[in-house]
């Protein structure tokens, strides 16, 4: 059964890997998304993740089921962090096991791409400068933001 979930604690990677092990599988691939210390020219100090959890879990389960169906992998899982993360922490973990390696690689790539595009998860970058900004939100805003001291003005 594909599994998607959120956690506010550090992701327990050995346990996730163990849960995907399967005697019928000869290949296992995983992807880890890490918190990077810079983005688009700004030095990042930490990240904050927020999600609409009910819908994100439902849609995340759909993505994993799609990956199983499309690529024929035996098992797939994804765990995403919420809350405040420091540089270097694992923000998202994706894993897939299958009889052969190619399907596992393809499934991991598919899952992380869909997770980034489809799940209602938001990321706020806190910069070394003291500014902050919601990724993908601030620049599509057409009008200046009033009444919020938290909006990063200098992104891009």
């Amino acid at each position: 059964m594909p599994q998607f979930r959120f956690t506010t604690a550090a992701i327990d990677i050995p346990a996730l890997r163990e849960a995907l092990s399967d005697p019928a599988c000869g290949g296992f691939a995983c992807f880890e998304g890490w918190v990077r210390d810079h983005n688009e020219g700004a030095r990042v100090q930490r990240l904050e993740y927020e999600a609409y959890e009910d819908l994100a879990v439902r849609e995340g389960e759909r993505i994993l089921a799609e990956a199983v169906q499309r690529f024929g992998v035996a098992r797939a899982a994804c765990v995403h962090r919420l809350g405040t993360l420091a540089i270097g922490e694992v923000a998202v973990w994706v894993g897939a096991s299958s009889p052969h390696r190619n399907e596992a690689f393809l499934a991991c790539r598919f899952i992380i791409d869909e997770v980034k595009h489809r799940l209602p998860i938001w990321k706020k970058e806190h910069y070394v400068s003291g500014d902050s900004g919601w990724v993908n939100c601030e620049r599509c805003a057409s009008a200046p933001v009033h009444g919020s001291a938290h909006v990063h003005e200098g992104a891009g």
């Binding site: 819908l55 939100c137 599509c140 805003a141 919020s148």
Partner: protein, 278 residues
């Protein structure tokens, strides 16, 4: 490519129970026919009035492009068949001429949810669960089966839809598809239109940038909006939201939803800013 959708208002009925031409009944100073054509005007590229041969010169109907029935005494299917003969490449959004409470959101939802791969897309009546044949979209491929239905002795469009491959939608705004057949029902419809629509009570959750700009995570609201799109526009007047509606998605009652879909009393609405997982 999907067939274009043209509009067809059926104004060839005999209005026997009403004892007056239903197309000419007025609501808020406008005839029913004018109301129906005005609703269709912005939603479809072309719209026609379906008439009997003896009505073609009637001044009310003659203001609009008309399609004249080619067969008599087979009920509303005559109008649809005539339209399909005249523009066989088009799908037809067919409207009865006795739906005074029909609103734009219901038509938008029907057009948005249309499945061109089926023979028709129709609302399921909230009264009896049966398809509503006279506020529905008929695809070009429905022409052959309609003719066969008639040849087999059937002239009820509802029975046709029951036997055909149809996409069924839940009825949108309450009462939007109530038709009127008697003077008493006409009076009730006029009264309903003169009353402002009751506001809806909804719960709204905010996330990320919208949460910060609204200054709250959640609230219970009363709204005059009838769609999620309208609700967001109302909220833009209340809060300094900087995200244009085109950049957002919306979820109603826990799952993604189309912007034009109607909202109901008690719905839980979540506006979803551009996402950034991973």
């Amino acid at each position: 490519m999907d067939a274009p959708v043209y509009g067809l208002v059926l104004a060839g009925g005999r209005s026997t129970r009403m004892r007056a031409d239903k197309a000419a009944l007025t609501y808020q100073g406008q005839t029913q026919l004018e109301r129906a054509m005005a609703l269709l005007k912005d939603l479809v590229p072309r719209a026609f009035v379906s008439v009997r041969a003896d009505q073609a010169a009637d001044p009310l109907r003659a203001r609009f492009a008309r399609i004249v029935d080619r067969r008599e005494n087979i009920g509303p299917i005559a109008g649809l068949l005539a339209a399909q003969s005249e523009h066989p490449q088009a799908a037809w959004l067919v409207l009865a001429c006795d739906l005074p409470l029909l609103d734009r959101a219901s038509l938008q939802h029907l057009l948005h949810a249309r499945d061109p791969g089926r023979l028709a897309t129709a609302y399921r009546s909230s009264h009896d669960g049966l398809p509503e044949p006279l506020c529905a979209i008929y695809e070009p491929a429905s022409g052959g089966p309609l003719v066969a239905h008639l040849a087999a002795g059937g002239n009820c469009p509802r029975k046709f839809l029951l036997s055909a491959d149809v996409k069924m939608l839940d009825e949108p705004t309450p009462r939007a598809l109530d038709n009127i057949n008697t003077p008493a029902e006409y009076g009730a419809a006029m009264a309903a239109l003169d009353q402002p629509a009751a506001p809806l009570h909804v719960n709204v959750q905010y996330y990320a940038l919208l949460r910060e700009q609204a200054g709250r995570r959640e609230e219970a609201l009363t709204t005059n909006a009838r769609t999620a799109h309208g609700l967001y526009q109302e909220l833009c007047a209340r809060y300094p939201f900087s995200l244009p509606v085109e950049t957002l998605r919306v979820a109603v009652n826990g799952d993604f939803c189309d912007w034009p879909a109607p909202i109901k009393d008690g719905d839980a609405v979540v506006f979803i800013p551009p996402v950034a997982g991973g």
